[in-house]
Each structure stands twice: as structure tokens, then as C-alpha cells.
């Protein structure tokens, strides 16, 4: 009885060492005959080496060394079908057009290592680094001064006292202006006189979307009823990645009589679209959903598309692309840049043609906001 236990322990240990030894051998074997550079990229389409190779063909000839760009996402990373993906889209487009070499990083679930990642990537010889999301504030504030040779693009960010000579450009968006227009669209399309807003996490940034949406809906119909709900409270940021809760809340709003619901909840918005379909089919009367950040009609499943009235566009991709372009051309400038209605940095989408009948009214409102005749509140 005693001996087998010893044996099993020994067996486990020797198995471990065997496997380890085997791993060592296996690692070297395939690498040697092949050119190391070609092996990895083949397996992984979004591997950065791969993209760099593509651009080398056309751009390297005229421009020597590639510009090295680092991008640190917010929690969720590439693939969230929302905010982070918008930044990724800008990066992808820049990779096609310019000779750049990109490294992408994503913080841990709680986001507490943003600072370490920003510092790490800054020390790896990059020329331009993006911090995607307002939460990089402290990380940016402490890192940027230590790396004067590196430029920083800070999406949604704010730092005090930036000037043209700073190595940080804060890239802000007038989300309330874009939300104002989709709020107006919601009120114009609503037949029940009741609309809804679902926020991902109750933070000041998302309250901006809410304030704009409410103002836009009231602009059209001062008596409109607006249901407002947030999925989670900080420091719990799961509200941006929780489609199940988004669906529950949306079903509640539709059941309560709202017929247009707007979300600013990142990946949770998928639940809203599903709820719109589900409620429309079970009740027989069509309800609408409004997307956010990117044109979600284009990325949604085909069966969900007909429920997406419009999307509030927040052109994070444009901000990323233009900042990279400036870096490549050597005229990066620090300071503050705001992407608003006047520069089409925010707006609304028309895919699907569901807002075609109200486009004129929306354009009028847009012109009024740009001209300053309507001032959209950015908090409530």
C-alpha cells in the first residue's frame, strides 16, 4: 500500500521532467530549418509582424525605418465590438496606409496595471503610444514626463496644462452632441412617447451620453418619458461587458412601454439588440435599438440589423488614424483636440435607411448645434 503512493509521486515527477525535456527539444527542432521570421505570422493573422511585413513591400522603399506605434487598450481589449475596436480600426487603417509597426496591449481585468503597461511599452523604443480610455489619467501623468522622446495620444483623456510642445495630445469627443442627435431621432421615431437609455457603468463619461440623449429627446418632445438605467456601478466595470444584464434591462424597458432604447454600454449593447428582436417578435409591435461608438448596423448579425435604428458615432478610429498620420509626417502636436459635430468627430449613422425620413430634421439640429444656437449639456 505504501509503495504505490511513492511510485505515483515519483511517476508524476519524472513525467513532469520528461515533458519539460521534450518541450525543450520540440522547441528547437521546427525553428532551425525554417526561417524564424516566417513561421509565427502564418498562424496568427493579427500578429504584428505579419502586418509589418505587408507594409514593408510598398512603404519601406520610400521611408526607411517604420514608425513604431504602441496601443494600450482599456479593459476588454480588441474584439469588444465597441470602444476598443474603434481604436483598433484606426490602427488597422493606419497600418495599411503607412509604414508602421504596431504593438497592442491590454490591461488586467481590474485595470490596475495600466500604468505598468504604459511604462513598459514606452521603454521598448516606440515613437507613439496610445492610452485608450480616460482611466489612463494617472498612468499618463506619471509616465509621459519620463519619456520625452515618446509621443502620447490619450483617447477620452484629460491632463492639465498641455501645450503644443507637450508630448501628450488629449483626444476628446463631444459625445453629448452626438447623443443629442440620436436622442432627437429616438423621440421622432417613438410612437409611445417613451424612450430608454442604458448606460454601461455610472461614470461621468457615460453620463455625458445620457445628458445629450435626454436633451435631444426633450428638444423634439418636451413631455417625453425617458427610462434611464445603468448596468453596474464603479469600481465594478462589468457593465461594459455584460450582454445578459443589458438584455434584461432592455426587455424591462420595452415591456414598460419604451419603443426606442439607446445604449452606451460597450459590449453589453448586444443584449439590447437581442432584446429589441425578442420583444418585437413576441409583442408584434416593432421596437428600436440605437447603437453606440461605431456603426453597429454593420457589425451586428443580419437578423438583428433591422432593429438598429441608427448608431451614435464616436470616431475613435479617426482620432487614432489622424494622430498616427501626424506622427508619420513628423508634425505631431501636443495639447487638446476635441472631435465634435463640426469636424464629424461624432455623429449618427444612416445604415439600413431607417432614419431617411427624419434626416432633414436631424441635419437641421446638427447645424444648430454647430452654430451654437443649441447648447447641449454634457452632464445632468
Amino acid at each position: 500500500m505504501r509503495v504505490p503512493r511513492w511510485i505515483s509521486l515519483l511517476a508524476a515527477l519524472s513525467a513532469a521532467s520528461l515533458i519539460l525535456a521534450a518541450c525543450g527539444g520540440a522547441e528547437e527542432a521546427p525553428d532551425e530549418p525554417d526561417d524564424t521570421g516566417t513561421e509565427a505570422p502564418d498562424d496568427d493573422a493579427d500578429d504584428t509582424d505579419d502586418d509589418a511585413d505587408d507594409t514593408d513591400d510598398d512603404a519601406a522603399a520610400d521611408d526607411g525605418d517604420p514608425v513604431r506605434v504602441g496601443l494600450v487598450y482599456d479593459i476588454g481589449g480588441r474584439g469588444d465590438q465597441s470602444f476598443n475596436d474603434a481604436a483598433a480600426a484606426g490602427l488597422d487603417r493606419a497600418e495599411e496606409d503607412f509604414n508602421i509597426e504596431a504593438t497592442e496591449l491590454e490591461p488586467a481585468e481590474g485595470g490596475e496595471n495600466r500604468g505598468e503597461l504604459l511604462r513598459l511599452i514606452s521603454g521598448e523604443g516606440v515613437d507613439l503610444v496610445f492610452g485608450v480610455g480616460f482611466a489612463f489619467e494617472e498612468a499618463m501623468e506619471s509616465t509621459a514626463p519620463d519619456f520625452p522622446g515618446v509621443n502620447y495620444g490619450f483617447i477620452d483623456g484629460f491632463l492639465p496644462d498641455l501645450g503644443p510642445d507637450s508630448n501628450v495630445v488629449a483626444l476628446g469627443f463631444a459625445e453629448h452632441e452626438g447623443s443629442f442627435l440620436v436622442g432627437a431621432a429616438a423621440a421622432l421615431k417613438s410612437e409611445t412617447g417613451r424612450v430608454g437609455f442604458i448606460g454601461g457603468v455610472e461614470i461621468p463619461l457615460i453620463e455625458r451620453f445620457e445628458a445629450g440623449f435626454v436633451a435631444g429627446a426633450r428638444e423634439i418632445n418636451p413631455d417625453i418619458e425617458i427610462d434611464i438605467n445603468y448596468i453596474s456601478q464603479p469600481p465594478d466595470f462589468s457593465g461594459f461587458t455584460d450582454p445578459a444584464s443589458g438584455r434584461e434591462i432592455a426587455l424591462g424597458m420595452y415591456g414598460n412601454g419604451a419603443d426606442v432604447v439607446y445604449h452606451a454600454a460597450g459590449g453589453s449593447g448586444l443584449g439590447l439588440f437581442e432584446a429589441a428582436k425578442e420583444h418585437s417578435e413576441s409583442s408584434g409591435s416593432k421596437v428600436w435599438a440605437i447603437g453606440v461608438d461605431s456603426d453597429q448596423y454593420l457589425t451586428a448579425d443580419e437578423e438583428l440589423q433591422e432593429f438598429i435604428l441608427t448608431s451614435m458615432l464616436k470616431r475613435v478610429d479617426v482620432a487614432v488614424y489622424e494622430t498616427i498620420a501626424a506622427q508619420v509626417e513628423g508634425d505631431f502636436e501636443g495639447g487638446y483636440r476635441t472631435f465634435d459635430l463640426s469636424t464629424d468627430g461624432v455623429g449618427y449613422s444612416t445604415s439600413g435607411g431607417f432614419v431617411d425620413d427624419i434626416v432633414d430634421q436631424l441635419e437641421e439640429l446638427k447645424a444648430a448645434v454647430i452654430a451654437g444656437e443649441i447648447e447641449v449639456p454634457d452632464s445632468n
Binding site: 511513492w6 515527477l13 513532469a16 509565427a40 504593438t103 490596475e112 469600481p235
Partner: protein
Amino acid sequence: MNLRSALIRLGASLGAILLALALSSIVLLIIDRSPLEAFAAMGSYASRVDSMISIINRAVPLYVSAVAVAVGFQMKLFNIGVEGQYRIAALVAAWVGGAVALPGILHVSLIILVAALVGAAWSSIAGILKAFRGVHEVISTIMLNFIGTGLGAWLLANHFREETEGGSLIIATARIPESGRLPSLNPVLEGLGVEVPSGSDLHSFVLFAILLGVGYYVLIWRTRLGYDLRAFGANPGAAEASGVNLKRMTLITMAISGAFAGLVVMGPVLGSFHRYTTDIPIELGFTGIAVALVGRNRPVQMALAALLFAFLNRSAQILDFRGIPKEIETIIGGVIILTVVIANELARRVIQAQEVRDAAAKTARDDEEGPA
């Protein structure tokens, strides 16, 4: 005898870690990445000065969290509520710290004291429910995590929040004034000839964490209370028959566990954030359970386990640069927990078998010698 047991345990732990590395290597090979390259990248990245500082800073909260869990484990109380306890404790402590101005040591002591008291108060809810209503602490502490997170969010957003300037969107309490912050240990490191890169600060709370570890050891193995606690863990019926009050012990143990839990993020709060923000690390309470499990509730072993998890956590950051998914860290960590727990159990049985054999041999010897 003891040396042999220690060697068996050491061997089992090392074997478990090797086995975990081997299993992770298989995963890496499956996704067509070189394990050696991955481990080498992690190793060389982790041996940088700033990495080592970061590993210690990361290990401290894990260690304190593990100690909090271990106090409960000693009497078979499963405190899964460390997560909620440290969040609410850190919030209130940071708010108090930002609201008062006191001379240095008093200020820091006050913040730490408030954190411990709030943690203890929060965990005591579960203690009271268990002692007087028989509510299982696993259920109540999990529920209290949600309530604590919600309550904390509400307090922060509506009462404790400091209006920030201009376009800042960070939600945070007021900053703790200079007198309430713990200095970094960088001057000491520099005195030892270590060149500390900019942006790296070794939190001096690590010294406090070592004291906590000593305090834990003394409490559990050198006091009457600790003896009763372990007696309960080993055999509740016998302990109660010998006159120990179960209700009282449950209340005291939950409160002490919560007090330790309240201190979990004091290192980052006093050392680098200087306020409570939404960036305060989360999930430390749950990782603490793993650390306590791997460290078998022993003060030194838990410290090693905390360092191991901190090492994995920090060093995995480099993997994205090498085209290796950093999620491999989660796999390694999970596999280590499994293999170490299994190895510990194997070692325990082996040692027990040895002891039985030794005792049998001794009895046999005594029997032979006895009549003579």
C-alpha cells in the same frame, strides 16, 4: 524525522511547480508557441529591478489577503468575503485619511486602524449571522461582497467623491495629505547600491506586511486564542466539550479575519494612489484564497506563494510583446493551484504513513524491550 517531513514537503511543492510548468508547456505547444521562449522572456523580464519592485508590491496585498483567509481556515471558517471587506475598508479609510490632517505617524496609524476596524465590522456581519442564526459564512460573505461593492459605489459617487478639476473623469476620494502617506523604500534600495528606475517605488507597507505575518504566527501558534481556534478547526465537538464557546470563537475569528482583510490594499493606497479610485486592484480577495491554499496557511509558505503569483502576474505582461497570449499566465496559475494542492495531500499521506510506520516500529521495539 522533522527534517525528512520537511524534505518530502519541499520536494512535493517543487515537483508540483515543475508539473504545472510542464502542463503549461503543453498548452503553449498546442498553440504553436515555444515554451522555453515564453519562460525565458518571463524570467528575464522579471529579473529587472522595476519588475522585482513591482512583484514585491503586488505580493504584499496577496499576502495580507491570504493571511485574512488563513485565520478563518484555521477554524474551518471559509471567509470568501475578503473581497468586499477590503474594498469597503479601503474606501472609508482613504476618505478619513483625506479628510483629516494629523502629524505623520498618527495620520498613517489612523488610516490603518480605520481600515482594520471597517474590515472587521463588515466581516462581523457574517460572523453574527453565523453565530446567532446559523447562516453559513460562505453564503453570507459572498452576498456581503455584492452589498459591499454596491454600498461602496454609492458612498463614493454620492458622499466621498472629490470634485476633480476640468475635464478629468476619474472618480476618487480627496487625496490623502503628505503626512498620511507611507514613504517609499527607494532610498534604502539606493543605499544598498540598487539603481531604481524612475516610476518604480517599493512601498514601505511591505515591512508592515511582514509584521502582520509575525502577528499571525504568534496569534495562531503562540496564544490561547490561537490554540482554541485550531482545536475548533481540528475537532469542534472535542473543543466545545473542553469548554470553548463556539459562538464567541466564531465572532472573534470572523472579526480578526476581517481586520486583516481591511488592510489588503493599504500598500497601494498609502504608497502610490494616495486616495481611493476605481483603479484600486480588484479580485485580491479571491486570489488570496488560492495563495492561502497553496501556502497551506503557514506564514512563510504563504509569503512564497504570494511572491509566486505576483511573479506570474508581472512577468506575463511581457508575453504580448513576444506574440504569446498573456492568458497563459491564468493557465499556469490555475494549474499550480491544482498540482500544489494535490502534491500537498500526497506529501501529507506519505508523511502520515511514515509516522505510522515509525510508531509501529517504536512500539514493536518497546514491546521487545518492555519485558526485559
